[in-house]
Symmetry: C2
């Protein structure tokens, strides 16, 4: 039965347990071609997608992420921002001229947005095929090592991974912030105006965490966010980008 | 007739001419709720979507972008990375503790990817509704002024806009880089191995530009990319992010 795109999108949940069945080449091609149809800034297509099939590499990446589903899935994609290709197109004098632009935070936004748009098309296409997906920001736990493992040259950055496969569980959907918090009209709505909606959301989430069957706990969204940002993580990402000659101030 | 998500994605083209018909509130809600269903790093939902309906604001933003369809469309969305909300959740001592993490390039990746994933769901949902879309990186032509116009507080960054509406033209789809250039297996494929495919793509694009009815010209992809990066643009984005207290090295 065919679902509309909106139905597919609204059914999304992250899948962290997959059946032991690999994707076919046809499925991989369909997913990557969908990714490529996303909009791209100035037609640069500033990304490369690396499909990891070598079990030893998957094992190394799973160790970095600390997540077993980085290894155990139907296919593993790593989405990389890529401004290397652009550089190599030029003659030596042209490459020299391009350095300043390529190293700028503006172009780091371009590569990151390009890669992310492509990845979300990949996610939707995979779900349309009846597969499940999970984004893996956890690869940035050791971004430098991931870059070495995948042999990424200058100006290629491993932004995140995506595990894809046949779902072996059906987790509940996680509630989202209320529409009123996320969508503003004409101007940014001051936090004070968002707060009553956030409080209601916290209450809803508190109940969700208390009532759920697995990992029941006393928690809400605000508490999670404060905890998350109270311990700096991945502070080596900035220096790594600098060494890659991107996102330089 | 219902299309599958993959069919919708594969039909994408950027629409730059819209009929004079506004989106309904229902359509806007459907699009934003689809955006919200995208995956989000650590459940932060680090973005805010601003819908611009005030014609004076649209005029100002169109002047910055230099694109008439920033004003003339069915609805204008601006996708902002948002770490302001997270900060405000804490008590003063908690806010102090969160500063180092919030200012890091790692969290700048989080806000940029979160906003981009949401936006691509919005794009697909809009297209599923029979609407057309165009991404507007051009708002970064003067990112500081856009931030002022939309009254964005500290740690809220206007990343890009999206014009949505009823298409008033049907442009050809732009060819994408060959699969072999964008998709690599296990390791990054050196540029030399990508080059033959890029050359073929350049030839295809050269023919496309020569043969097309409007704006026929002698051009190809490699030439465009070299031209694009030979003149640095938006070099104020880096300092702007710094002043917003994000993406600090």
């Amino acid at each position: 039965m065919s679902h509309s795109a909106i139905q597919t999108i609204m059914q999304h949940r992250s899948i962290r347990k997959f059946k032991d069945k690999k994707l076919t080449n046809d499925q991989i091609q369909t997913i990557v071609k969908a990714a490529q149809m996303a909009s791209t800034s100035s037609y640069v297509m500033a990304y490369t997608i690396i499909g990891v099939t070598d079990e030893r590499i998957k094992e190394q990446l799973a160790a970095i992420s600390g997540q077993p589903y980085v290894q155990k899935n139907g296919h593993l994609f790593v989405f990389c921002g890529d401004l290397h290709r652009a550089t190599q197109l030029g003659a030596p004098d042209e490459i020299e001229t391009m350095q300043a632009s390529l190293a700028s935070p503006e172009q780091f936004i371009v590569m990151t947005v390009d890669a992310a748009l492509a990845s979300q098309n990949a996610a939707t296409a995979a779900e349309d095929l009846g597969l499940g997906i999970c984004y893996l920001g956890s690869l940035r736990n050791d971004i430098r090592q991931v870059s070495e493992i995948l042999q990424l040259p200058e100006r290629v950055v491993p932004l995140f991974g995506m595990a894809v496969g046949y779902p072996d569980h059906k987790p509940e959907q996680k509630p989202r912030l209320p529409f009123e918090v996320v969508y503003h009209e004409n101007h940014y709505q001051p936090f004070e105006q968002q707060l009553p909606f956030i409080k209601k959301f916290d209450e809803k989430l508190q109940a969700y965490y208390e009532e759920r069957k697995q990992n029941s706990r006393n928690d809400n969204w605000s508490k999670q966010i404060i905890r998350k940002f109270s311990t700096p993580i991945r502070m080596d990402v900035g220096p790594f980008l600098h060494d890659k000659n991107v996102n330089k101030q």
